[in-house]
Symmetry: C2
Subunit: 448 residues, 2 copies
């Protein structure tokens, strides 16, 4: 066996080589049929702390997916505060409109019984006419009955296919069974039940001391994978045992949203269903936070912001086809708002995003994006850094800049772009990802 | 020779096969090195009429390209009117700033000698600091001397690489020679000299009767192919023999720009160099148009608009990677401006553009884009057509709609999307193309 004639041995070797080459060729010619977990995903889902007064359950209604949970039920104890932030879309879904109405009422009066949260994946209940409102009402009524509370305290979200009526009976049909499994330990199961085309589950948490009491925050999110005809929907739910008034919680949530979820962008498109809800049970036993200017409010706001920003960045890391996570920092602007607008103009520019995808330190495209933002800028005052590398200053490429340094920097997957406008003291940071063939593949090549 | 032993023959065959397979593999793995002419290109460059008083020349300064012309010189007779429209970017290039200043002066006083126009491709003279201003000045002075006119009457544009000093000596060095070849017949050569990554030259013309005189309009444009680190720059030059005052010409050009060049979008990015200049020699001999409300002004405005819109659509047809030409018509809006804003929100949405690329009649993404436009809209009043097919109405998919009809329609390359907001009488139309792998290829895969 060991002594075959050379030609035969060689033939076998060459035939093996041909087989391997043909396999490689097929792989190179075919578009990948599925994208795996985002290369920018964190190591795993974090261990979320138990939030006293909050219980989770997940169930399978088989709305669209089979063999997995697609409904999440959460019960939040009576006496809790709730606040929220929603899509600014003018074609908002039935659930979003319903949440906004209920939230406005709960800001003014005490809860009577627990608060309920029902979220389903597989169907967005969006652009479904008056039937959509009926589905929200049916789920709210059924959940209120099971949890022994008022339907005005049941919040719902839906994410998935749009334009198809939501088969809400399927959801209503499993609520009783789900309620029997409600547990303080099941946050991760809820986080996974609301995923659609997310490539990983997103969670974040914080623990800190307030008035000598340990306060905990735990949250999860879904977004922003999209497959036609679904839309980018970001759903975020955060729970804390802090004692805080609804009005102060709402103010903090609104302020924090600007510098977290409103400072990220994948493709500049806005879902009709984006929802953020924050629930505070008060079980931590701290003195209730009643003023936004108190020291306790500031500490709580900062900790909550940390959780919100962490979740927001994870959404970017799951951007369709993303291979680079990009932080865009704008300083020297006329105001903080102007800085964020310039940052968004850069972060949403297809030319900038494709340059990052191509690992091209193309500062010219950054200048273009600054110019089109509509905010005050002076060509000859601009300073641009890629990471720590000074690329351009005073209207021209920096003398010290060497193209090979820029090229080497762009090969990383965690990148920072800093732009100083040189005209004021405003600053802001936004986060985005690159625009790749993967994005086109997910959104154009796949048909529903 | 013919009777080699089978093993040796087989070895040769297999080695040849491996060689061919490796070549195929390299080709499949590599991004194509050049994209051909856009599949949406018109049949060819049109025959442009001679405009009395306007002479063209093209020359090769070898600024970046070799073996082709890269400079265009145009001389427009003394006594002509000139008007323009420029990028709104706040990081405008030196040429644009210079054109704006000169135009403002010429609006108020008569010309003294001919007007000159010098345009180069290969280098955009953008973000080149004060050196950029010096280059514009040097070219203006040299051209004025050669044409026997004032430097304040020389307009310049540059398109190509940014951030590199323009070697203006190369341009100045060939001006004398070029001026000797000035001809009324050479408009197409000028159109071709200013191309960068355009896949075809763009020209349009009109002829009509005014006061019993034949008036002619001829124009050409370049845009919007882009290869890093170049930027999307749209340059448009239009010439007419109509007699019209500078002030009226400027008003007509500004109004027409909104519904032509400002109603197209490829990727929503804005160049630092976009320039439109219109020159009117008066040689046609019509009574000079001095009022925008006159019948003659309205006829001229309509004919000029036709040429502008034709060129604007050609720019869209040359959008990077474009495979579909898409007209987006919005009706029933609160105002015409609102309609155009909603149209632009749809036309710039990456999700809508990738749906078109994937031939997916995804009206859900259209609803999303309407919602994010920021303009007034009511989810339950929306009506959407793809071509003549009613897709959605009153907040839901139309009863008569069959998905296979939508799918069949989307296979065409010239598509129309109509959205009626159902709340007012405002209307507007914008034009765009789809977002494909070709766009990513051009803007990400190629490195400078």
């Amino acid at each position: 066996m060991a002594e075959q004639t050379p030609p035969k041995n060689e033939l076998t070797r060459l035939r093996g080589r041909i087989k391997r080459l043909r396999k490689k060729l097929r792989r190179a010619q075919a578009a990948p049929k599925a994208l795996g977990i985002s290369p920018l995903a964190p190591a795993g889902f974090p261990q979320l702390p138990i939030i006293q007064g909050v219980r989770f359950a997940a169930g399978a209604a088989e709305i669209k997916y089979t063999g997995r949970n697609d409904v999440s039920l959460v019960e939040i104890a009576d006496g809790s505060s709730v606040a929220g932030s929603f899509t600014t879309s003018l074609t908002r879904s039935a659930s979003v409109l319903d949440c906004e109405t209920k939230l406005a009422t709960l800001l003014k009066k005490k809860t009577k019984g627990p608060i309920g949260l029902v979220v389903n994946s597989g169907n967005a209940n969006a652009f479904t006419g008056s039937a959509g409102d009926g589905s929200v009402e049916a789920i709210s009524q059924a959940t209120a009955k099971i949890l022994g509370t008022d339907a005005g305290q049941i919040f719902t979200s839906s994410t998935g296919v749009i334009g198809e009526p939501l088969p809400h009976d399927k959801i209503v049909g499993i609520l009783e069974e789900m309620s029997a499994t409600l547990s303080e330990n099941a946050a991760e199961a809820s986080a996974r039940a609301i995923m659609t085309t997310d490539t990983f589950a997103k969670g974040a948490a914080a623990e800190f001391i307030l008035d000598g009491r340990t306060v905990k925050i735990a949250g999860y999110a879904k977004g922003s994978g999209m497959i036609a005809p679904d839309m980018a929907t970001m759903l975020v739910y955060i729970f804390t045992d802090a004692a805080i008034s609804p009005a102060v919680l709402q103010k903090i949530v609104s302020t924090n949203t600007d510098t977290s979820f409103n400072s990220i962008t994948v493709d500049g498109d806005t879902s009709t269903s984006d929802t953020l809800l924050v629930f505070a049970t008060g079980a931590a036993g701290n003195a209730e936070i009643k003023s936004t200017t108190s020291k306790a409010a500031k500490l709580f706001a900062a900790e909550l912001h940390g959780v919100m920003l962490d979740l927001a960045k994870q959404v970017v890391r799951d951007g369709e086809g993303a291979t680079k996570f990009i932080e865009v920092e704008v300083t020297g602007a006329g105001s903080d708002a102007a800085a964020r607008k310039v940052g968004m103009s850069i972060a949403n520019s297809p030319l900038v995003k494709t340059a990052f995808a191509g690992e091209d330190p193309n500062w010219g495209r950054v200048v273009m994006a600054v110019g089109k933002s509509g905010e005050k800028a002076d060509r000859d005052s601009l300073t641009i850094h890629f990471g720590d590398i000074l690329v351009a200053e005073k209207g021209w490429v920096a003398e010290s800049y060497r193209e090979e340094d820029g090229v080497a920097y762009m090969k990383g997957s965690e990148l920072k772009l800093s732009v100083d406008l040189g005209i004021g003291k405003g600053s802001g940071t936004v986060w985005t990802c690159d625009l790749t063939h993967g994005y086109i593949q997910i959104n154009a090549d796949y048909r529903s």
